[in-house]
Subunit: 115 residues, 10 copies
Amino acid sequence: MPQTDLLDFFENPNPERDYKINIESPEFTCVCPKTGQPDFAVIKLSYVPDARCVELKSLKLYLVTFRDEGHFHEKVTNMIADDLIKLLDPRSMTLETIFNVRGGVYTSVMVDHSK
Amino acid sequence: MPQTDLLDFFENPNPERDYKINIESPEFTCVCPKTGQPDFAVIKLSYVPDARCVELKSLKLYLVTFRDEGHFHEKVTNMIADDLIKLLDPRSMTLETIFNVRGGVYTSVMVDHSK
Amino acid sequence: MPQTDLLDFFENPNPERDYKINIESPEFTCVCPKTGQPDFAVIKLSYVPDARCVELKSLKLYLVTFRDEGHFHEKVTNMIADDLIKLLDPRSMTLETIFNVRGGVYTSVMVDHSK
Amino acid sequence: MPQTDLLDFFENPNPERDYKINIESPEFTCVCPKTGQPDFAVIKLSYVPDARCVELKSLKLYLVTFRDEGHFHEKVTNMIADDLIKLLDPRSMTLETIFNVRGGVYTSVMVDHSK
Amino acid sequence: MPQTDLLDFFENPNPERDYKINIESPEFTCVCPKTGQPDFAVIKLSYVPDARCVELKSLKLYLVTFRDEGHFHEKVTNMIADDLIKLLDPRSMTLETIFNVRGGVYTSVMVDHSK
Amino acid sequence: MPQTDLLDFFENPNPERDYKINIESPEFTCVCPKTGQPDFAVIKLSYVPDARCVELKSLKLYLVTFRDEGHFHEKVTNMIADDLIKLLDPRSMTLETIFNVRGGVYTSVMVDHSK
Amino acid sequence: MPQTDLLDFFENPNPERDYKINIESPEFTCVCPKTGQPDFAVIKLSYVPDARCVELKSLKLYLVTFRDEGHFHEKVTNMIADDLIKLLDPRSMTLETIFNVRGGVYTSVMVDHSK
Amino acid sequence: MPQTDLLDFFENPNPERDYKINIESPEFTCVCPKTGQPDFAVIKLSYVPDARCVELKSLKLYLVTFRDEGHFHEKVTNMIADDLIKLLDPRSMTLETIFNVRGGVYTSVMVDHSK
Amino acid sequence: MPQTDLLDFFENPNPERDYKINIESPEFTCVCPKTGQPDFAVIKLSYVPDARCVELKSLKLYLVTFRDEGHFHEKVTNMIADDLIKLLDPRSMTLETIFNVRGGVYTSVMVDHSK
Amino acid sequence: MPQTDLLDFFENPNPERDYKINIESPEFTCVCPKTGQPDFAVIKLSYVPDARCVELKSLKLYLVTFRDEGHFHEKVTNMIADDLIKLLDPRSMTLETIFNVRGGVYTSVMVDHSK
């Protein structure tokens, strides 16, 4: 299982204002649960923090723990969204995973959340 | 006729949340019903699943069965939309077919559906 | 005068649904009414059909009949829009003409129509 | 001062319809009022005509008369907007001036107007 | 600390009209407070002036004073926004800082403000 | 087998001069001999004619006859090159087939020929 | 026939030096000799002048006279090349015509000449 | 160690002709030998086959076996080149690895080989 | 006449090595000698210095003095090349002027010089 | 002065083969020796190693030491080239510095070296 406990946060330095933080990691990889072959994706996260901001290095290390995990596209996107919502309880959040082409087909999954 | 029975689905792993799945297949080909010559298109599907998600490989195999079918642009787009709405009963769906240029003219057809 | 009678239509195969048809022709040419020199434009048509869809080849042949016509940018755009609205009586329509640069100046004209 | 009297118009051929005219001139140059050195900008004009349309060549010649004028970015944008609003009394208008980089800084100014 | 007193303004030449000023500086650099290594960002500022407009050269010189400052991405964005809001009291303002990739991760922070 | 007899030529109108003809067809499709699934490719042909030029429509119809053929990438490229060299006996020729991604891997094959 | 007599030249102002002049016209149109339908192309001319340079406006007017001419791609390219070589007797010249897609096939023709 | 025995080949179907095969895999990942963190790269292979061609799926599976390997950029590139040269003994070959940015620095390594 | 005396140079700091300096100014403007209307161009200069390097600000000020000069494209390019060759006596030099489109025609002029 | 002693190397793992290493750092900044204002550049290094390869992190730290240095474009490029040639004694090397626009003028300097 991915190591959720690697995720860390710091106090939002400006909680009195609504502002948006965008993070993009083009280096996400996990394993196809059917074929055992690697899958690759770009992760795009965008959120308005409430009391907490995600610490960037901890997010990177957390995403690396999916490297040997086998999950479907829809599942893995919702898992990451759930972990970040639980950690940050953000005012609003969007998470998108854009997977590399497989069998001539391109797929992405996008989750929207607001308090 | 295209083989609708090839289409398969799996249970939506997160039905309690509205999220969007985007799928793009740049390898759609059918036959012009007037000239018998091949037509080529990019298929773009975007939907918010309810109880069901379309299984990607089954979607690919279903789209391949249009290879020898002769249909007008407007008809083929509505056919695919109808088949996917019947299979998935999605909360909302957009289907767009972007055909290659013919006679110096570019055409695309876009269907929007919501429950 | 452009030959409006060249325009042809076919019955909308799915009139019970609102869907959009986009057509782009990058090969429109007419003549500048002032200088007699050729003008060039891209024509972009987008509409939601009601009972009728424009037949693509007939649209192309109709546009070719502007080849020796002298019209200002604003006039020619409204003429084509009027002809297509009369032919199709669409639920909604957008027509844009994007002319090539003249005298270091780029111009386009865009007409919106809805029933 | 720029020669406003160079600006000319023609009667809107379709005043019964709201439609949009977009004009772009990438060749605007004036002089920095501080340094005396040339400034360069792209002018983007977009408007819905009422009774009058701006004549393109007259617009070009009018813009050329800024060539030796010294004005700040914010001022010159509002001057051109004022001259065009006075000439055309449009239903709505947007004017944007996008200046070339100076001191590593890019600037643009955008005016919106509606009747 | 960054030198806020370097920031200067001039009187809005057209306060009776709402218009937008966009400024982009691709040459912002500060220092990572953890590693002491340089960070690089693009600054995008967009505002509707009320009584005051920021003087471009003063903005540039102010941004240069962050060169040896160590601040987190979220903090530095809110600091610059606060300084500009205090100086200009604009009708509305957006400030975005787009940082260069670090550890394979891209980050940007965006602040919206309106009176 | 592909129908080589569909290929037609016309007399080179300027055989006394070396000049180059470039032809690109982004709509080539055949079948994977292993899986039976469709493959897609862009065909790029470039040649200096001697006595003969390939007739464009005949080339298109010939390429369509690969639609149900099962061949490996390397084989199909050499087959088309051989057919065109036999038909045209060109002074020189380059043929490239650029296949769509399969299994995350992009492939192209390029044949050079000169008299 | 195209009006070769429209072509005009001026004396090369620096004949003692080899330098290159590049000219591109994206607005060439003629007629397909088979179907009577319009063809469109970009003309690219590049040459090292000897005693003469082609006058730009005369080149434009000459190219316009192909508007109602029916010629194959290979023929029309060689015709224009011959006319320009006869007019200019350049030290070297390249002429390329890049035609718009027809039947899903892109074509260009390129002539090289040197003294 | 990467599993070289996964690499497979097939007989070159046209050994009498020099032709080029280009293969690109944007999904290469290994591990940094210093930090233990994942590295990502695009692999570009281009070769003129002699008696043998590399089988695409076997190449993909071989590249996947670097997933948990720790190697420096320069070493890993030379290792893959050596394995492919030993397998194929090609007439000529180029192998390039283009690594993702690390610490604000982009790196690629390129090996050329000919018989 | 353009003010050649504005051009200044500094001593090449590394005359013992051949190295290349590239300079691009997208803000060149002069006047068409026929119509009196402004022309715009991008200037690209590339040279290997011998004893002297052109001082950048002086080059900029020199280019500004063409602002009210009327010269043909071919002439102005050779004039600038001559002035720079006289000033710098470079080991080699290329100067290209890329003019904005006029009458639907794009033009550039390129001069090569070597000692 | 920049700290040349920060530069480190490792033994070339494949000295028996000529291969190329490309490194790009888009985050170089130094100070203009005239104005004291920051300059920004992209550094592109490409070399064929002999006995030594530059260690990437040491190269990055070395480049950071130019942050407060005032040097002209031509000088700084030759300085970095000299330091790397002294460190690596490469079979061949190219170093290019591409500076950000100043006063509307873009500049780059490129040094080639071979043993």
